[in-house]
Amino acid sequence: MKRKWNWLIWVGFIVAVGGLFSYEFFIQFPITRDFPWATLLLFGIGAVLLLAGLFRAFGRPQIYRGKVFGSIFTAIALLLFAFFSYVTFYILKQVPLSAQAPRIGERAPEFSLPDQNGKQVALADLLSPNGAVVIFYRGYW
């Protein structure tokens, strides 16, 4: 008898892979970026489906397929999760200390730089009437 298609494994794997790529989308919104709960949730759902699929592949191998490819897919999903965790919980936290950055109460260093229209803008030009928020960003290259 032909054994049944083990959809839990396939869907679980797709959800886990989707979880990895979902951060590209979720990173746009502070609420899903500051702590990546939406991405972790997708990984979690993928893991539950994969484990359920594996459970029945090994538990009732005469009915369900997936012992071999289920194990491979689960291992790949685990690697993706490990990669995501490494990037979000380690790489993204490798920020310089900036111990010499101007502190509250200190004078902000003066500057004069070209803006997006090629016009020179100095800090002094920005301070009137009530000051300026200066945002340093990594850039878009």
Partner: protein, 114 residues
């Protein structure tokens, strides 16, 4: 950055300017601002001189191992004094405009005569 653009009117209302600084050359910045409809000044610090002066350089963190700015936000009052600093511990977590607005209101509410 989109958050700050969206709340630009709230900064205008308080008489506070916004400025963004990175090592991106002006043409990259210009294209990006057009695409994203950013209207406040995006300043190009190509040799990272200002970024170094503020000690917010992230060595080798650029795409070709070049030096770039780490995310950091400052509120500087009209006298040129720093009144609020945000130095994130996670590159993906930047200050939200609400934090900056709250810092401005607090700084201006407490004995600032302007």
């Amino acid at each position: 950055m989109r958050g700050f653009q969206k709340r630009l009117a709230d900064f205008d209302k308080r008489g506070v300017h916004l400025a963004a600084i990175s090592v991106d050359p002006s043409d990259v910045t210009a294209a990006h601002c057009r695409k994203m409809n950013y209207t406040f000044p995006f300043l190009s610090d190509a040799d990272a001189a200002v970024i170094k002066r503020y000690d917010v350089l992230h060595r080798g963190a650029g795409p070709r191992g070049n030096d770039i700015a780490r995310p950091a936000e400052f509120y500087i009052d009209s006298s040129g004094t720093v009144r609020w600093v945000n130095l994130t511990e996670n590159i993906a977590v930047r200050a939200r405009p609400e934090q900056a607005l709250a810092a401005i209101d607090e700084a201006r509410g407490s004995g600032d005569s302007h």
